[in-house]
């Protein structure tokens, strides 16, 4: 992750840095899901009535919708045995000593600084980056950019919030978007005004508290006309959590001539079910780019999508998935061409090792009248041994004319010729294999800010050595 200056954070940091700290409510966390719990969450957050109602309605939808069976096996999730809302202080009750040894070892080997480890491991709720956050905030405020957590946004920018929330991904979209809408907490809210370009990437790190990495994050980004923003969430170091279900929703609106890039590097501990709905609406000549890296977790299901709403809109998904032993990465992308003269590309790279499984699942839809569209899908899978598995499930639905549709899929193993070539130069087998794998995902890595790229390569090295849990 980005190196940021460290500061001592005392109890007075709220005054010092203006950082939002949740109040200490008296709340005893309960397992399970019912209208009372949902009402309680909303009440504690002192939300407006419309949000409480929307949460309750979403809960109804969640209950009615059947569990999706077309993807990874989700039957083991027990919804009644989950805490749907935990205060930061409850989450921190773990101690460093209780952490699984493999997680600790990985932090060691990645050289993650102590304070950061504690945060990533959920042992401390606060990551010491407030200084960076503070000066960044000043700059953003000058430009009229809003960058805050989603709970604060609902409180501080109610009209803007209500105008867009749930418009890209309505609760009824799927079972997990309904669940998220019922119990969401945390996440990022970004508004970039007309014509404003935010030159440095906004990172969730800058304003992290424990809720930010919560189970049911909700992120909403609005790029007004002609604006630009690059948002980065996650980090390469494994995030340890005892919560087994993570189900985020990310909604993005990219207006005329605007461009948004959303970069994710996620490395959940391997007990996690990571079921994420990410969708953007791109308007005339707007560009939406999803750069999505998935390591870790037990099961990930994630298909970032772009609705190309007006002519000239462009959508890109570039993703990497790494599945080790016992893991299933079911990832891909969806491009929905609603308007003519829109273009999309999906590039998916996957690596399976030690019996791990990766699936590419994609959907290209071109609506009637959306003529002259172009879409290109490329998925490359690398299998590191014979027990591992990779599948592709591409669905195309084309109802328009003069459409250019391309699909390329490759499945390969680490080539003996490449391995021999590198080894013939004195490079040991393991290192040579790691180089080849890092080379394979380079089209992805090169899109990352340098410090993330370096870390991703290092992490792949650890995964290759089999030292990561």
């Amino acid at each position: 992750m980005a190196t940021v200056p460290k500061v001592e954070v005392g109890t007075d940091y709220k005054e010092k840095y203006g950082f939002f700290v949740p109040e200490e409510y008296v709340f005893k966390a309960k397992r399970g899901l019912n209208p009372d719990i949902v009402k309680e969450i909303s009440w504690m957050k002192q939300e407006p009535e419309w949000m409480t109602k929307m949460r309750l309605r979403s809960l109804e939808i969640f209950r009615k919708k059947p569990m999706p069976t077309w993807g990874a096996d989700l039957s083991v999730i027990d919804f009644e045995n989950i805490f749907y809302y935990l205060k930061a202080s409850d989450k921190q009750s773990k101690t460093w000593e209780e952490l699984p040894p493999d997680i600790k070892a990985t932090y060691d080997r990645l050289g993650v600084p102590e304070a950061e480890r504690k945060f990533l491991a959920g042992v401390s709720a606060q990551y010491e980056s407030e200084v960076v956050y503070h000066s960044l905030q000043e700059e953003l405020t000058k430009k009229g950019v809003i960058f805050t957590d989603t709970d604060s946004a609902l409180r501080d920018h109610p009209d803007l919030f209500k105008e867009y929330f749930g418009t890209v991904i309505p609760p009824a979209d799927n079972k997990f978007s309904a669940l998220n809408t019922a119990v969401w907490s945390g996440g990022s809210f970004i508004y970039v005004p007309k014509g404003v370009r935010v030159e440095i990437p906004l990172q969730a790190y800058f304003r992290i508290n424990a809720e930010n990495m919560g189970q049911f994050e909700r992120t909403l980004i609005i790029c007004d006309e002609g604006s630009f923003v690059h948002y980065i969430e996650g980090c390469t170091a494994p995030i340890y959590t005892t919560d087994s279900l993570h189900s985020a929703v990310v909604e993005i609106i990219v207006k005329k001539d605007a461009r948004c890039r959303y970069t994710t590097i996620q490395n959940w501990s391997t007990n996690v079910f990571n079921l994420v709905t990410k969708r953007a609406m791109a308007y005339a000549d707007a560009t939406m780019e999803w750069v999505d890296g998935n390591l870790g977790s037990q099961i990930t299901m994630k298909y970032p999508s772009v609705y190309l709403m007006e002519p000239g809109a462009k959508g890109d998904v570039l993703s990497v998935a790494f599945a080790g032993k016992g893991q299933h990465q079911d990832a891909g992308g969806k491009m929905i061409h609603v308007a003519p003269n829109t273009t999309s590309t999906i590039t998916s790279k996957s690596i399976s090792k030690g019996g791990g499984r990766t699936s590419y699942r994609g959907h290209i839809k071109i609506y009637p009248g959306a003529n002259n569209c172009k879409s290109f899908v490329k998925c490359d899978a690398l299998l590191l041994d014979d027990e591992s598995r990779s599948d592709t499930y591409p669905y195309n639905d084309v109802d328009a004319e003069n459409v250019t549709l391309g699909h390329e899929a490759t499945v390969s193993k680490v080539s003996d010729e490449q391995l021999f070539y590198l080894m013939s130069r004195g490079i040991p087998r393991g290192e040579a294999e790691t180089m080849i794998v890092n080379g394979f995902i380079e089209p992805f890595t090169k899109e990352l800010p340098l410090e993330y790229a370096v870390e991703l390569n290092r992490l792949i090295q650890l995964e290759m050595e089999g030292s990561v849990g």
């Binding site: 010729e417 021999f420 070539y421 080894m423 130069r425 080379g439 380079e442």
Partner: protein, 261 residues
Amino acid sequence: MADFEIKDLRASVEGRQILKGVSLSIAKGEVHAVMGPNGSGKSTLSHTLMGHPGYTVDGGEVLFKGQNVLALEPDERARLGMFLAFQYPVVVPGISMANFLRTALNSKRGYDGKDKSKQVTPKEFRSMLKGELEVLHMDDSFLPRYINDGFSGGEKKRAEILQMAMLKPEIAILDETDSGLDIDSIKFVAEAVNRMRGPELGILIITHYTRVLEFIKPDFVHVLVDGQFVLSGGAEVADRLEKTGYSEWGKEETAQPQEVA
């Protein structure tokens, strides 16, 4: 005394025996040429010497620095001081030549990520590269490019020799480094190889054509036909092939390149 000794080497590919007992002794400081028509087993020899997993050793020994090389992994052979310039250098996408060269150099020096004193410094790396690039008439624009990716034939072969120059082997096998090169490229490559010639380096030049031997003068020439040496001698053997090609051994191939330079 021989520093590198191949004794009665037999090897097969996909169940077919290709090398049928090859013996050769190389002392450091010497340049040996192995010449042979297409399919005679030249690359099988080079690959077997370097330990390509697709080639099965059926018998024989290869001794270098008191070790039976055939028992070692390719990377161990390289770290022991062997080098193979490939006839067909392999493309490895996503890894820059610079990264590759640096990693190889570090491995050669025994750097395993721990003892920093063994690591090549950026300054040292740059200055080494600079000199070698000049000799080979290459510019550093190829350093950020992926390994052999999109390289022309000539660029690939020069990049092989660059790697050799950086890694400073004691036994270098050049497998048809000259084929596909125009005359200027052959001269650059030859110049680079000649600079490396000396008492610390033994060279095995594998070639189909005599031309490269005008620029890199061999001390010994061996003719390989159907997996066996059929003739060995001094530089005069190359002159003989120059005139008659491989017809003496029933192969209607000349030893001069057909293409117009």
